[in-house]
Amino acid sequence: MSALLEVRDVSKSFGAVAAVQGVSFPLHAGEAHALVGENGAGKSTIVKMLAGVHRPDTGTLVVDGTPAEFTGPADAKAAGIAVIYQEPTLFPDLSVAENIAMGNQPLTKLRQIDRKAMRATAERLFVRLGVRIDPDRPARGLSIADQQLVEIAKALSSQARVLIMDEPTAALSGVEVDRLFAVTRALRDEGAAIMFISHRFEEITALCQRVTIMRDGKHVCTEPVEDLSVDDMIRRMVGRDLSALYPKQEAEIGDVVLEVEGLGREGVFRDISFTVRAGEIVALAGLVGAGRSEVMQAVFGVDKYDTGTVRFLGKKLKGGDPRAAMTAGMGLVPEDRRQQGLVMELSIERNVNLPRSRALSRLGLLFGGRERSEAQEWTKQLQTKFGRLTDPVGTLSGGNQQKVVLAKWLATGPKLLIVDEPTRGIDVGTKAEVHRLLSSLAARGLAVVMVSSELPEVLGMADRIVVLREGHVAAELTRAEATEETVMYAAMGQETK
């Protein structure tokens, strides 16, 4: 079995940060290869080098036994490499069919684009993936899951010999993941080389034959998957043993803090009611697209709702006004850190103080000292690792960024903290820290609403679980009632056996 593509001793640094240092591994035809590591381990940098976005500082990429130099994504594409990124990269104004065909559109004799053939290709691919998306609709407005499916169709259409998937399943539901894996397996068996990045170990064991583990930009090992247990993998990723992942502390349940009643928004969710008490962690579970984030964003006021009421600490909360919610004592750690949680260009200090600059001002004026000391205190409490407080927050690793978002909201002294996918895309070590933090906050009387797609996290952390399905409450389960099965059945709309 020869390597279709080989990464040979590559290094890459950005400024002073060495993202990847001397990493080597091969991708063989007919094999799915997992690349795992904590966030900030350098996986995405490897992906971008293979995609031709970044050029390695040193080391080489070897395609079919000959060293290749990619000057841009076009070269990588020409070498038969297709990449599915973590975040979909579609053209919102173009039709789905065009998105799929971009770069290798079928042409007529006059070298014009053959729209019919283009459409047919898209339809064929969708049938193969078993999804129904109208090839003529614009990509704008597609759900994240649909976008990811179009990305996959795009990769398939390019007849790639090497398929690189950077957390393609993060936004997909179970059925869609199964279908994706079926197609991927078929591709693999036809002789393509697959590189697969995921934080979900069950997916890795289900799909991959070989795994490369990275830590801090360095290569740890490359071994057959069956030789490693999940614990082995985690240990090698983190470099140490992990204590319990879900350190749930028992907390005293207090008064009702949040009361949501009959909340509805046309076409998104309807008739949502639940309560949250002080000291309680309530998880909102459900499939992606069930409307969990949307409900909580409406509660916090960043989105509007059409019907229903939100009562917070006994008072009715004005809708559509995040500042009112904030002043009343609510905080929201949003799902999308880069887009919603942080202002990447601004400094850590500015980000931490953003919701509170009013409170920190004296006579309406702000002077640096107070902002500085506040930011210092909160980042320290959360053990955030950074160079200087004035560094742009974008220079931090994902986990530390998440800590900055948490610091930002904890600094406001909230009575209720909404956390939406609090551990998405952060490494195992930080994940445990976040869990421990949430748990201890609840123990101190904070009410927490957690939206999460990770069942173990939901089961491990929550006192109560509200399961949403297609925009309505499908079930409400106590900690005792909740098992993987009961939650999944409720989420998917099947009767409990």
């Binding site: 040193t58 600059s357 640096g368």
Partner: protein
């Protein structure tokens, strides 16, 4: 890079601050002032400084709210037309017998209303500000023409026209500085030392994240446009009084000069970056160059080229430095590896 967004005075002397473009432009401006005062005959007289201040007044005033707007990632190209419209209205009101004491506040209010219309279109309807204000650029100028045609109204009372062109107590400090300096300080404080200023940078860099942090993005932007309109209205009044001539075409083309000065001052057209001192320096630098070149009998045509080149270079040079640094760094790495 984010240092540009930090309030001045906190980390002065830090390398990052000095290397940022607004730092450079401030140094350049001081240099230009010194060199011109020493080397250009007739530049360093108090009368010439008065002329200088009067020449840069309109651009500087409009640049104040414009800086805030561009920091939020939006733009207002209609300012010069708002100026023209208020100028035309001023003439029309005057012809219709209103007193100047009535007209001046009225014009500023009307400027604010015009700004509010921009703000409404941009924030309520969510339209792109570039397109909206290109539209109102034509609309307001057109309305100015409708009001006053190509006519001019000239007979404003000398008490007012004389005040605008005059100096404090007949000395060497122009009266208009009494407006310029306080306004510049107010806008400077708002941008650099208030919660609103912090919010402006945040929404310029990422308005969604700002929204999630409880910042009233739309409302803030709306009021920025109102402020921009009001200032443009004020400048319309000052312009009219300075030239004792209310005309519909007053200040046409000024919007581009203002945007050029703001960008030259180191504000990023994409928002989130820039400082008011940098912008003030940009405005002064352009005015000094213009004044000095003219005193040297260099034609206004050459000035066009200088302005354009400065504008491009103000963004290009920092980029070139960055990319050279990266290339150099990479080459060193490769050599080390080889």
């Amino acid at each position: 890079m984010s240092d540009t967004a930090a309030p001045r005075g906190i980390r002065r002397g830090e390398l990052g601050k000095l290397a940022s473009w607004d730092g450079i432009i401030i140094v350049l401006t001081v240099l230009a002032l010194v060199v011109a005062s020493l080397a250009v005959p007739n530049f360093g007289t108090s009368r010439n400084y008065t002329f200088l201040v009067l020449d840069l007044m309109p651009i500087l005033l409009i640049a104040l709210p414009m800086t805030l707007i561009i920091v939020t990632g939006e733009i207002d190209l209609s300012v010069a037309s708002t100026l023209g419209f208020t100028s035309a209205l001023m003439g029309w009101f005057w012809n219709n017998g209103l007193s100047i004491e009535m007209i001046i506040p009225l014009c500023i209010v009307i400027g604010a209303v015009l700004g509010a219309f921009n703000g409404f279109l941009v924030t309520r309807l969510g339209l792109p500000s570039l397109a909206v204000t290109i539209g109102t650029l034509a609309l307001y100028r057109g309305l100015a023409l409708v009001v006053l045609g190509d006519g001019a109204v000239a007979d404003f009372p000398f008490d007012y026209t004389g005040w605008v062109t005059g100096t404090i107590g007949g000395g060497s400090i122009p009266n208009v500085l009494l407006l310029l300096i306080p306004l510049a300080i107010v806008f400077g404080i708002v941008l650099h030392a208030t919660p609103v200023g912090r919010a402006l940078y945040a929404m310029g860099a990422n308005d969604k994240a700002a929204h999630f942090a409880g910042i009233r993005v739309e409302r803030t932007k709306f009021w920025l446009y109102v402020a921009s309109g009001a200032v443009a209205g004020l400048v319309g009044v000052l312009w009219t009084l300075r030239y004792s001539s209310a005309r519909a075409d007053n200040g046409s083309g000024l919007e581009l000069a203002v945007v050029a000065a703001v960008l030259l001052g180191g504000v990023s057209i994409f928002g989130g970056k820039g400082s008011l001192p940098g912008v003030l320096a940009g405005v002064v630098l352009l005015a000094v160059l213009q004044n000095a070149l003219r005193l040297q009998d260099v034609s206004g045509q050459a000035l066009n080229i200088v302005t354009g080149a400065l504008l491009v270079l103000s963004v290009l040079l920092p980029n070139i430095v960055t990319s050279l640094r990266t290339t150099w760094h990479r080459r060193r790495l490769r050599q080390a590896a080889a």
